[in-house]
Subunit: 362 residues, 2 copies
DNA sequence: GTGAAAGCGCTAACAC
DNA sequence: GTGTTAGCGCTTTCAC
């Protein structure tokens, strides 16, 4: 027999049977009354509710889960928790869950290994949640089928998928807009602070933003230079290190596009540490519009992050309420916010008498 | 009968009975084998495990929960999710949960009402989790007893409690250290950017930090001036507005202590917008050592936030593993990090010939 | 070392 | 509108 857990603390919790006995009705009626189902007489319902309250009866969710197969919980799966972007998304998701009476279970998948574990292992997702919001986590079609077979709903933020809805921004456009802004200001030597290379969650965002960056460059007839591209791991220190290395180059960039504001902050730090004035000798543009970006005066491509989490969660709720899962794609708007970290490139520091005529619009 | 949920997608999941049948043993043996209990013959165990794997059997957590009364999940309860501090704590907690095979359910309690709801309602915590980590959420002794009666474990971060362990920093010392630093630099007119007033979660942190601030002032014989104290809601914009108001005063402060780095960032922004040089005419000190503080060159009182979440969660796990719940208090170290936003006050802007001799050490 | 069987506390047919 | 009852899929005594 199962229950030895009440050894410590307090007397036995009231169960549905206790309420039924006290109210002089059957457990079925209690169950119906508690859940507000229609076919209960008003007087009965009131009596049941009163007694339930008196006994401080709370339905056991585990029993309900077992009986219904629904957990009334969703998982929010993120690569890492301690980054501004992901915590905003989680905040948005949690808020919607709270509204809907769902639990939000957060799961970090910082490596491919843990992502696999999430999908495979005993200790996994199975039956613990009704659905998942994947936030910038790569999912191959096999994973999707597995999830569908397990009768789980799914929505992803960021990446596309083939069987389920997704929501995100146009990341190619992000890269294009950022780099175009720099090109328009007159920059021709534009560095790129990208995502991580060392632990490939093979997630799409860095790839797409880079594509947009290259597209803009190409449109302006500017050759991309791999020597001024580095990984910044989407962190402040990663961005700092990447920028520091570029500034050490014989021919450092006059501007950089950092794929996130946090990396851009790092770039600003590196510039300051190297004594390089911003935007005087270095322009910096980021992505996100982090809370702090306003303070830093950072030029950035804004996206509405918390809203992304909320909308994705609502899409998931729709599936849980029976809407069919189809591979729709919602796109949320992005917007260039020009502040004080971008400007025209400095006049080239060449000895008097020399002129460099490669600068200027195409 | 309960299960109609398998209507869509895939064939029936394997249950423990399927495995038992396939392996030619009883369900009890399968259960023992799966959980690594000692009293199973090695050969039996291997056979069971192989078959379970083959059938891709996953124990249903809801059934296990119902049978054992343990959910293998904890809740992390935070006032808001979209702040650096709380997301760090959640990250630390989630990491430990993942290690231990627990789920981390995040719950935002942004108001007293939602905190009450969490403790009271039908849709509440009961039996969904085995324990809770309360992060800077006020809990009165009654709440604690209720939780204990429900056989829930509890650890709190920040506030003390009377029946359960807690972990935190010495918040009075935080205020004292920050303000003492400013006093030592020669400041005598020191503003305070405090927490929120409008939605009192009556949580202790702002109160204690303020107490430390006042204590330092008093020790130096400096009178506190309520006109240079304002609420910043622990947000960047809140800090900005609070600072902007102070800078508009006839006699603005020469330094401010902001109770969080995010509010300090806001203060720096307000200073820049008002054309007030930092630290030339305004010194700013914060609390936390936010990722971005390094970039901003912000002087701050550092605490190790993610570690706080991890340690609290380990303490909770200890309780879940049978350690008695006692009202111990762990304190983690804090440290003043002096950077570039603090310096000696400017020479008073008085007409030549006047001298102000009130400045200097006591 | 293994099995039989009684729960855990609900929900959902189905009957009345 | 209400009651009866058979599960949901496990865990855990107790016997052997």
């Amino acid at each position: 027999m199962g229950n030895t857990a009440h050894a410590s603390g307090g007397r036995r919790r009231a169960t549905i049977e206790d309420v039924a006995a006290s109210a002089g009705v059957s457990v079925a009626t209690v169950s119906r009354a508690m859940r507000g189902l229609p076919n209960v007489a008003l007087s009965t319902r009131e009596r049941v509710l009163a007694i339930a309250n008196e006994l401080s009866y709370r339905p056991d969710p585990a029993a309900a889960r077992l009986a219904t197969g629904r957990a009334r919980a969703i998982a929010v799966v993120v690569p890492l928790l301690n980054s501004w972007y992901f915590s905003q998304v989680v905040a948005g998701a949690e808020a919607v869950c709270a509204e809907e009476g769902y639990d939000a279970v957060v799961m970090g998948v910082s490596s491919n290994a843990s992502r696999r574990a999430l999908l495979d292992t005993t200790t996994s997702i199975h039956r613990k949640v009704d659905g998942l919001v994947f936030v910038d986590v790569a999912l191959d079609p096999d994973d999707e089928s597995t999830l569908a077979d397990r009768n789980l709903a799914l929505v992803s933020i960021g990446g596309f998928n083939t069987h389920f809805p997704s929501i995100g921004i146009d990341d190619v456009a992000v890269g294009d807009i950022a780099t175009s802004h720099l090109l328009e200001l007159g920059h021709r030597r534009i560095g790129l602070i990208a995502g991580q290379h060392h632990d490939p969650l093979d997630f799409q965002v860095p790839v797409l933003r880079r594509r947009g960056h290259l597209r803009a460059l190409e449109r302006w007839g500017v050759a991309a230079d791999p020597s001024i591209e580095a990984a910044g791991n989407f962190s402040v220190v990663g961005g700092r290190d990447a920028m520091a290395a570029m500034l050490d180059l014989a021919e450092p960039p006059t501007a950089v596009f950092a794929m996130s504001d946090e990396m851009a902050f790092g770039a600003l730090l590196a510039a300051r540490q190297a004594g390089v004035p911003v935007p005087g000798e270095l322009s910096v543009v980021g992505v996100d519009d982090h809370d702090v970006s306003l303070v830093m005066g950072l030029t950035t491509v804004r996206q509405t992050v918390a809203d992304l989490g909320a909308r994705a969660t609502r899409m998931l709720m729709a599936q849980l309420n029976g809407a069919p899962a189809v591979a729709t794609r919602e796109e949320t708007p992005i917007e260039l916010i020009v502040r004080e970290t971008t400007g025209a490139p400095a006049a080239p520091r060449v000895p008097p008498g020399h002129r460099d005529e490669t600068r200027g619009k195409p």
